[in-house]
Structure formats: structure tokens, C-alpha cells
């Protein structure tokens, strides 16, 4: 439980009970048809579209008094959006929040899937800007719905074909389309394709909420999520030729950080909780460029780009 300072005048978790019930019904339907976008009556929330209105409504609907909430934005727990949403729920629902993936029961995210593997008692809630994966090739909503209904997904490969034709490889790096439960093609929201394997057959429930577009979809636990590809250009994830400058990890998704105005840069874990936990466990990276840090055995951070 939180610190007992829930704001007065609001229902538990801000939304009224009727709205929460209707959204829960939508979520049940979304779970029943993995990857299918279910329309819902999205409400006005006290933050602008694009800041996570869909995710917040899903979280508000499934939140109970005993839940522990973690919110991440770009993998980090300490960015403005993450801090605001955590504070919003600790004030309107008086629940406790955490930055530790292992302690959370509900994790709301936008750009990343936590590096720490999730378990069955956790729910991952995504904030989705554009839920329709076919939108790039087909602007008509009536037509895209029909294409989903009839499993006409050939055009998704047109997009991948274009990537290979122009760049020599599949250059789609985020929101990489995937086939859920061998039936519906789904937008993976702005997570990097690095995270696509991490949403395949995992024990946690995943719910995607798009507030402006008024759609909710879900991936039930242990559901297959297959990234689309070509036989001769198989799906692959990003790799880096160096490790995290702070914790030395070579397995996690790295952000490039520019440290001065002379182009010096370093790579650090995008998942701040993962990075902190590794440092607590005694791991260390080469440190900031120019710093005389221990374990600097790969020539310092610098030139390499994700590829």
C-alpha cells in the first residue's frame, strides 16, 4: 500500500467504475483473440494523446489496491513521463510503486520490454501510438479491418521487400511487425526489434492500449509471436560491438549517449533498473570515455553503431 495520501474527489485509480468495467470486458475479448485490435470507448485523460493515454486507461482498469506499479519510458524509470504516471497512480489509487522489475506486478511501458525475464504474476501494459500495422500501406480503416478478417497480409512483406531493395537488409528497427498466434499481424508499438524475441511465448500477460486510436489488443501468456521475414533474409536483432559503459553488459539493449560537444559518446543500458542491479552485483563497465575506469579493455566507448 502507499503512504495513505490518496487525493480526495476521485474514484480509485481515477476512472469511474463503469468505465473500468467496460475496459476490462474489452481486455477479456482482446485476450480471447490474441493480436486482434478491439475498439474501446477511450476516455479523455488528464494528459495529452501520445503521452500514454491508452496505457494509463488499461493500467487504471486492472489496478488493485495491492498492486505494485512500475512505469518505464525509453527503458528508464526516471524520465518525466515515467515519473508523472507513477505519481498519478500513487496519488489517485494510493498504491505503492517501484523501479525494480522483479517487485512489480504491473509494468507500464512504451519503448522497451524489461531485460529481466517476467513471470506469470506480472502484466506488461504498452502505450501504443499507432496500433494498425497495415496503415503504412493501406490508409482506409474499412479496408485494413477486412484485410485482418481475411488474413490478407501479403502487403506487410511489400514493406520488408522495400527495405531490402533500398538498404540491402530489413531496415525496420522498431515497431517490427509480428504474427501473433499464427493468425493476426500486430504492431509491436515502438519497441525495438531487439525486444521482439522477448515477447514471444513469455509467462506474463501483455496488454496494448492505444488511447487516441481507441484500440486494445493483447498477447496472452505463452503465446507465439513470430516476427515477419523472408526465407533468405531471416529476422535478426541489433548487436553492438561494445558493452555498457556503466555495467559492462554485452547482452542488453544499449542507448548511445553523447557526453560533450565534441562528439564523444558512450553506450549505456537502456534499461536503468537492469543496469543498476548489475552494478549492485559488482559488475562494472569501462566508464565514461576519458575517465580512468577499471575494466576498460575494449578501447573505450566510441565509434561503433548498432547494426
Amino acid at each position: 500500500m502507499g503512504d495513505g495520501t490518496q487525493v480526495r474527489g476521485y474514484n480509485f485509480a481515477y476512472l469511474d467504475e463503469g468505465t473500468k468495467r467496460s475496459i476490462r470486458r474489452i481486455i477479456l475479448k482482446a485476450i480471447a483473440i490474441p493480436g486482434y485490435q478491439v475498439p474501446f470507448g477511450s476516455r479523455e485523460m488528464p494528459l495529452p494523446y501520445g503521452w500514454g493515454t491508452g496505457g494509463i486507461q488499461v493500467t487504471a482498469s486492472i489496478l488493485g489496491p495491492d498492486d505494485v506499479l512500475k512505469v518505464i519510458d525509453q527503458g528508464a524509470d526516471d524520465t518525466t513521463n515515467a515519473v508523472s504516471i507513477r505519481r498519478f497512480f500513487s496519488r489517485t489509487a494510493n498504491i505503492s510503486t517501484t523501479e525494480r522489475t522483479t517487485e512489480a506486478t504491473i509494468i507500464q511501458t512504451r519503448h522497451r520490454v524489461p531485460e529481466t525475464p517476467l513471470h506469470e504474476d506480472q502484466i506488461l501494459v504498452y502505450q501504443v501510438p499507432i496500433p494498425e500495422p497495415l496503415r503504412w500501406l493501406e490508409p482506409r480503416e474499412t479496408e485494413t479491418r477486412k484485410m485482418h478478417a481475411l488474413e490478407e497480409y501479403g502487403v506487410m512483406h511489400v514493406k520488408l521487400y522495400e527495405d531490402i531493395a533500398h538498404y540491402g537488409h530489413i531496415a525496420t528497427a522498431y515497431n517490427y511487425p509480428a504474427l501473433v498466434n499464427r493468425r493476426h499481424v500486430m504492431a509491436t508499438s515502438p519497441i525495438p526489434k531487439f525486444d521482439n524475441p522477448k515477447i514471444d511465448r513469455i509467462p506474463a500477460l501483455q496488454i496494448f492500449g492505444a488511447g487516441r486510436e481507441k484500440r486494445i489488443y493483447a498477447i496472452p501468456p505463452y503465446t507465439e509471436v513470430k516476427s515477419l521475414d523472408f526465407e533468405d533474409h531471416p529476422f535478426s536483432i541489433e548487436t553492438w560491438d561494445q558493452c555498457c559503459a556503466m555495467c559492462g553488459d554485452t547482452e542488453s539493449y544499449l542507448d548511445e549517449v553523447i557526453t560533450d560537444d565534441e562528439g564523444t559518446r558512450m553506450f549505456v543500458c537502456s534499461d536503468t533498473d537492469h543496469c543498476r542491479r548489475r552494478r549492485d552485483d559488482g559488475h562494472a563497465g569501462p566508464g565514461e570515455p576519458g575517465e580512468d575506469a577499471p575494466g576498460d579493455d575494449n578501447g573505450g566507448a566510441g565509434k561503433g553503431l548498432p547494426g
Binding site: 478478417a149 481475411l150 490478407e152 501479403g154 502487403v155 521487400y161 522495400e162 531493395a165 533500398h166 523472408f230
Partner: protein, 260 residues
């Protein structure tokens, strides 16, 4: 007489009303595999309505359209489920629009335009799709180097040829064309007609071509249907109809041809 087997397409009593207005009325014909049927008539005579009813773009008010599929025998198009009709139209059929912008994806490359139908029926090997696209570009006399250029950088004639290639890549058995040479200048028209005639013969494709240009009908059509006010007023072998027109409206159309 040679046994032709069942007709590929058999249309009976097909009528389309737009409210009180008549689109086309009581149209009936049979089309055999490999046959090219031209539909001519003045503007507003119901040619395009007829074509759209046949290819599933419009629902006819009454009548029957029977199509002989490759694997499932004869199906009735008017009662076929939308899923199956859409599958037919991207595998067994081709639709070539008058304006190539209606039939092409203008923002993706020529190669992807040709490859789209292959991917829609399950091709998942990039190399194979690309080499098939290159083959088709050669077939339609477009330089292979243009494979990664979007159609918006092509001339009108090239766009129209690309649209034809995009439709023929899955080797359809029936192609619907609405004024395929409209909007092209005469020399480009001649080249396109030449190409079309070659491809249709080579691949043994049946085609229904709507045109108001009797020269196109003369060059491509085995048979001809003349429409006026939504009805078919005369039909027969192309040469027969054009050289010896019986119906006054056909006589009018034939006598209206300008000879330089």
C-alpha cells in the same frame, strides 16, 4: 466442331440499377479460355458498370455470373463469399485500370509492385521474388535498372505496362481491362497494344477489354459486344461486326471512325 469444354465465364441476365438509373440491363455472354472479348460503346453506355459487376467491384441487382475455377469447379460469383472472391481476384484474375495510379502503389518500387501478388499468395523468398520481378520488367520492355524506382518516376506508358505486369505475374486466367490505352499518345498506344497482344497469346489469357476505341477492338478482340444505354445491341466476331454492322448504333459507331 471442336469441343471447347465449359466456358471460363458465363453471364446471364445481368442487370445493375443505380437506384432508378440503369447501369446495364440483361447482359449475357459466354467467354472461353484464351478468348479476348472487347466491349465497345459510347460514353455512358454501361461498359464500365458491366466490367465492375463482373470483377466483383459492384454487386449486380440481378443475374448470374458463373466462373470456372482451377480447382473448385464452377462457382457463382454473385453469391461467392467475399474472402473467396478477393482470393480469386488476386490469383486467377487481373484488373487493369484506365488510370495506372488506381492499380499501382505509387510510393513503393516497381519491383515491389510486381512482387506484391506473389507475396500475397505466400512467396517468402526475396531472391526469387526479385528475379521474377526483373523477368517481368524485361517482358514489358522496361530497363531492369529501374527495378528499385517508384512508378511515380515512370512515364504514363511505362506505368500502364507496369500495371499489366503486376497483374500478370501470378499467371491469371482472366484479365479485366478498362480502357487500357486511354490517356496514352498514339505511338505509346501502338506499342502497348503490341505488347498486350503478344502476352495474351503467349500466356493464353482470356480478357475482357472495355474500350471506346474501335481500333483497339479490331486489333485485340476475337469477339465484340456493342453496348448502348445499358443493353448489348450487337455482338459477334470482331471483323464481322466492324465490317458488316447490322444495328444502327453499331453503324453509327463504325462510320464515326476518322480515317486520316
Amino acid at each position: 466442331m471442336m469441343d471447347l469444354g465449359p466456358p471460363l465465364l458465363s453471364v446471364q441476365g445481368m442487370t445493375k440499377f443505380y437506384g432508378r438509373l440503369v447501369g446495364c440491363r440483361d447482359v449475357g455472354f459466354d467467354l472461353w479460355p484464351g478468348e479476348v472479348l472487347c466491349v465497345v460503346g459510347e460514353s455512358g453506355s454501361g461498359k464500365t458498370t458491366l466490367l465492375n459487376c463482373l470483377n466483383g467491384g459492384l454487386e449486380p441487382t440481378s443475374g448470374s455470373i458463373k466462373y470456372e475455377t482451377r480447382h473448385e469447379g464452377t462457382v457463382e460469383i454473385t453469391t461467392l463469399s467475399e474472402a473467396k472472391r478477393r482470393f480469386l481476384s488476386r490469383t486467377d484474375w487481373g484488373i487493369v485500370y484506365q488510370n495506372p495510379r488506381d492499380g499501382l502503389r505509387m510510393r513503393v518500387s516497381a519491383g515491389a509492385n510486381i512482387g506484391e501478388r506473389l507475396m500475397a499468395v505466400g512467396a517468402r523468398h526475396y531472391g526469387n521474388i526479385r528475379s521474377e520481378a526483373a523477368t517481368w520488367l524485361r517482358n514489358i520492355e522496361i530497363d531492369e535498372d529501374r527495378i528499385d524506382d517508384p512508378p511515380s518516376t515512370f512515364s504514363g506508358g511505362m506505368q500502364q505496362r507496369l500495371q499489366i505486369a503486376r497483374n500478370l505475374v501470378t499467371k491469371p486466367r482472366l484479365v479485366f481491362m478498362d480502357e487500357p490505352t486511354g490517356g496514352l499518345d498514339v505511338s505509346v498506344q501502338a506499342r502497348l497494344l503490341d505488347l498486350l497482344r503478344g502476352l495474351v497469346t503467349e500466356l493464353d489469357i482470356a480478357a475482357i477489354i472495355v474500350t471506346h476505341d474501335l481500333a483497339v477492338a479490331r486489333l485485340l478482340g476475337h469477339r465484340l459486344m456493342v453496348m448502348q444505354g445499358g443493353r448489348v445491341v450487337e455482338s459477334g466476331l470482331t471483323d464481322q461486326v466492324l465490317d458488316d454492322p447490322h444495328h444502327p448504333h453499331t453503324q453509327l459507331l463504325v462510320s464515326a471512325i476518322l480515317t486520316p
